[in-house]
Symmetry: C2
Subunit: 297 residues, 2 copies
């Protein structure tokens, strides 16, 4: 069996690297993006251009979406000019965007009626992970389809985990974003308390990193935070979007997540203060504003 | 110069191991504890018994306290029958309890007037760290005194860090406890959301531990939490006490710590529900109660 033909919808910062790895591995990729410049980039890497999601999907064995949020997935999958217009028995659809689990489940049901088998497969690892193909990929959907798609997913990621049925990949991604948000908020409140007490944040960083308080976000971003450096990384406004998904999911499932709700409001404050394009570790700025103190320097 | 004579006040779960290491290393230790049984334990290890804090301190070059909270330190250091009654020029006082930074500063000032040089040196690492002498020790006070006491502190701990002037050790310990509390709350909300969505918590644990969401508390306690095992470790009621210190310090310094405040209330709920003697990772029970869901099993 030859390599599957791929339709790739959404070739922005993440998608362009991911599609590039598929092309480099010998997959034939037809790409679509609403942004012509993004499409130029992957065309230069060897992708065939399409004029719509439907056109990208028309001749494909496997259709992949990598778009910003739930409405974009719904549009690309089920909307006018979307995958649904060319859906057929045997087609596979993998959504790698981070969206609401409920949307993943609904899209899988709708396309499933037309014989399309679906996986939700959100990623973590950011642009660096996409570029180096070291993404962590969290997959929901039928176990046999997961096994069948594993070689393809391994082209884009390093750790690929089957999390359960449709929507389970999105659920685990949501859990991941809760933990990362609260690790960052914990680092923020630690540094701010220490700064106001006159303790060198470098010392706080060193002691906490070396003990039971250690987190990977502190290992990676702590040294930048104590110098006031917030170039992304992962932008605050994307984490705010993810927290919106988390709170929507919590509402649907009747789960009470008070700390995630608070984190959502702290990230909301970041956006209100023009910090949405900074790295999400900039949540310390919300605590600094509340406390009228500067940590870095 | 021979080894310093040590007065050790407070030989409970932590202090008995710490005093034991000093005795094993050849220090002469005179110990006091309000609990006679605790005193029996260290006497059996070779400590001389004292009938009061003042008696333990009377012939000592270095007096160490390891007691539950700020009022106990104030009583042992400044109260009737306390160190202050035998304080003299050249004596060194090291408080290794976890207490309010403001209390450490005040005790150092009061004893300082009588020529006693003071360090605050709270520890992290729990009973296991005390037993294996692998504690992390966070030290506030004069740099030259820190250097002078380093060999003695190294008998009880592995990582000994000078954090700044008087109170700075307590401040860094407070920062540590903020970060650990929020890492635990993040794990709790992740697992509860996942459980309600029907995802196996073992999968959430595996994916989060292997990526950017990783925390040491998840590495150590996550495998127990997903099985519903909460034997301490570090008891919830001690972390609640530490959060009380944190919020008191935040009030004194005019710092706003909304997530630490929320964590304090979640730990308060644990105590209200009879879970104070469980490991602090049991904070997941507060989120489970709020959400009417069981994670483990």
């Amino acid at each position: 069996m030859g390599k599957q033909k791929i339709g790739f919808i959404g070739v922005g910062i993440m998608g362009s690297h991911m599609a590039g790895h598929l092309i480099d591995t010998g997959y034939a990729v037809t790409a679509f993006d609403i942004n012509a410049a993004a499409l130029d980039t992957v065309a230069a890497k060897g992708a065939t251009r399409a004029e719509s999601s439907a056109e990208a999907a028309a001749g494909a064995d496997v259709v992949i979406t990598m778009v910003p949020d739930s409405p974009h997935v719904e549009a690309a999958a089920l909307g006018a000019g979307g995958i649904i217009e060319v859906a057929r028995e045997g087609m596979v659809y993998i959504d790698m965007s981070t969206i609401a689990p409920a949307t993943s489940i609904r899209v899988a049901e709708e396309l499933g009626k037309l014989g399309v088998r679906c996986l939700d497969a959100p990623v973590s690892g950011g642009e660096a992970g996409a570029m180096k193909a070291t993404l962590s990929i969290m997959v929901g959907g039928p176990a046999d389809l997961f096994e069948e798609m594993l070689p393809l997913l391994k082209v884009m990621g390093k750790t690929v985990t089957h999390c359960g049925e449709a929507g389970a990949g999105q659920t685990v991604k949501a859990c991941n974003q809760i933990q990362v948000a609260l690790n960052l908020v914990g680092m923020a409140e630690s540094f701010v308390l220490g700064a106001k007490a006159g303790v060198d944040p470098q010392i706080i960083l060193r002691v906490l990193s070396g003990g039971y308080a250690q987190t990977r976000v502190m290992d990676v971003r702590g040294p930048k935070v104590v110098k006031g450096e917030f170039e992304p990384g992962f932008k605050s406004r994307f984490h705010y979007k993810d927290l919106g998904i988390i709170m929507e999911t919590a509402k649907n499932l009747k789960v009470s997540l008070p700390a995630s709700a608070l984190a959502t409001q702290l990230f909301s404050s970041l956006l209100a203060n023009g910090c949405g394009d900074l790295d999400h570790s900039a949540v310390i700025k919300a605590i600094e504003m509340l406390s009228n103190v500067q940590t870095a320097g």
